[in-house]
């Protein structure tokens, strides 16, 4: 409950602080080319391939785990600032 409360407060504050920025829920369309649709379709093709060549899907899943690690590290830097590991002094 305490962790949930802390997270909830941080998230509410973040949402409120940056609420003035425009919200984007899809990738833009540039010169008539819908990037969002293109990326979604591309991922659909990729998943079709990865269901056939399953080892590609496994490597991609590993890549996503690594991406999550770097995302968490970036988030820690954002929250903790210079107190975060590997931050500048």
């Amino acid at each position: 409950m305490l962790v949930n409360l802390l997270l909830g407060v941080v998230i509410v504050m973040l949402n409120a602080l940056f609420s003035w920025l425009p919200s984007v829920t899809s990738l833009p369309t540039i010169a008539g080319y819908n990037l969002d649709s293109a990326v979604s379709t591309g991922m659909g093709y990729f998943y079709t391939y990865s269901t056939a060549f399953w080892y590609v899907g496994d490597v991609f899943a590993g890549f996503l785990v690594l991406l999550t690690y770097y995302g968490v590290k970036m988030l820690l830097k954002l929250i903790l600032g210079h107190r975060a590991p590997a931050s500048h002094h």
Binding site: L2, T25, T48, W54
Partner: protein
Amino acid sequence: MIRTILKKASYFIPAAILMLVAIPAHAAIIVNQTNSDASSTQTGNSGNDFLQQLGTGLSGTIGSISWIMSIGGGGSVNPDANLELKCYTDPFYTLPCTDMSNDYKTSELVTQPTPHTFTATLLSGHTAFTFNSSDYYVLFIQTNSSNISQPITFYGGAGTFPQVTSDFSNPSGSGMTNAYFWIDTGNPFVNDCTGGSIGNCIDTVSPANNTTIATATAYVEGSTGYVSSTSAPNGATLNMTVKNNSAQIQGFFNGLVQNTVCFFTSSIGNNQDINPACGNIGVPISSGAYSFSTTTPAIILNGTYTLTTSITTPDFSFLGINIGQNTLVSTTTTFLGAATTTYDSISDAQLSGIQALAGGQSFSQDNCNVGSGSFSISLCIDYLIIPTQANFSQDIANLQSGFLTRMPWGYANRIVQIMTSDPTAAALPETTVPIYIGSSTTPAEELVIDPQDTIVGGAAYLNSFHAYGSGLTLRQIVEPYIDLFIGISLMIIVFHDLMAMGTASKGRGHGEGSGKGNRNSEKYREWLYTHK
């Protein structure tokens, strides 16, 4: 000594009582007529009914009454069925007795276009009816609906039981001379597959109808039911066939009834029996329940799969050799293959792993309430500190719908969303290459390149091969090693990164982290060397 015996007896007596209560009385058939005569039917619209003479000499208390009929589709109201026992004191069925019973009724009946077993049970609050052996009885079943547009068909029996009386309320089509029914003292009697009725012959199938199976995972396929020796005197075979026409993947699973698994395997592009000797030789069975279940070797891709489950018997048996094949019953269900990635599984497992640190115990707000009766200091601390998955998921959802959607990082968030959301596998595009000969503007031939068929279909074909002996596919053998390699590689990368962070944050102001710390340290030493 006597006290010790009494003390021990005090444990045995409640245990014996508990056993007597826990073990239900074995159900018994009071009267039935289950020699099927599928050609004898009675068809009508709403209010269709039949009257079946039961004769005299019956005894026992009714638990349930079952019969077979089909209900056509259409109409806005599903029918139910009322059941009444008519009682007479004379063999001519003219003098009614006083102990009539109309306390049995079905729940609402859904459309069943094929012959199906229906059962009426005692209405709530009513007293079960007990036969008087000196009286004569007639079974009267009537569907109860005024809005059925399609016919309802009762199925007949071919036994020697007293014939159905002729006073149908709504006769239509050919009238049957005997009903197919059974009256049981307990739970519904299981049907024996005759008359093409599914009934309890195929009681359950797995995967169940309209369920979703995750791709790239093994799934359990099986069936339970009941086949009697009457309906399968020369043995029976349970056949389960999975088809996905788009992916050209088919698995064929075959198990002999009576808990004897014959074989299962999968094949591509056809339903051929891989092991004819096993599939064509029936095993004589006695009446009883069967249960077949196996983990399939088939690779599941996205898409809708059709599962056909059937029970077949040989046409006849000669010198122990079964010849021909006759399908007793068959049913078709569908299930959906939907992809979930390893990443999804890892994400879902994170909080479960954190919560498992609490020793697998469940905790709640009551653990912090002294007066609740479940107060516990340790569980209360767990409740206060360990985040609950539901709340954490809600927090993440709030973050994703708020802060993370803001420009410019909202675009990165969108890309991550697309990459990590449940994928919708798209069929690979087909390309047609025209081939021209000479100066003709009309292509003489077209070369069609279909990667969905060649690449995906081909890979699925390769993935279907099994190792001799073990039955495992190449994927099942190799994938654990690949996952192990990926897991170790991830650990090394993360560990190296964490160590580099420590090296970089020694207070020199040059550290960058993320694996650059060691290199910066060397540069720092070079800088010291050149500027000393």
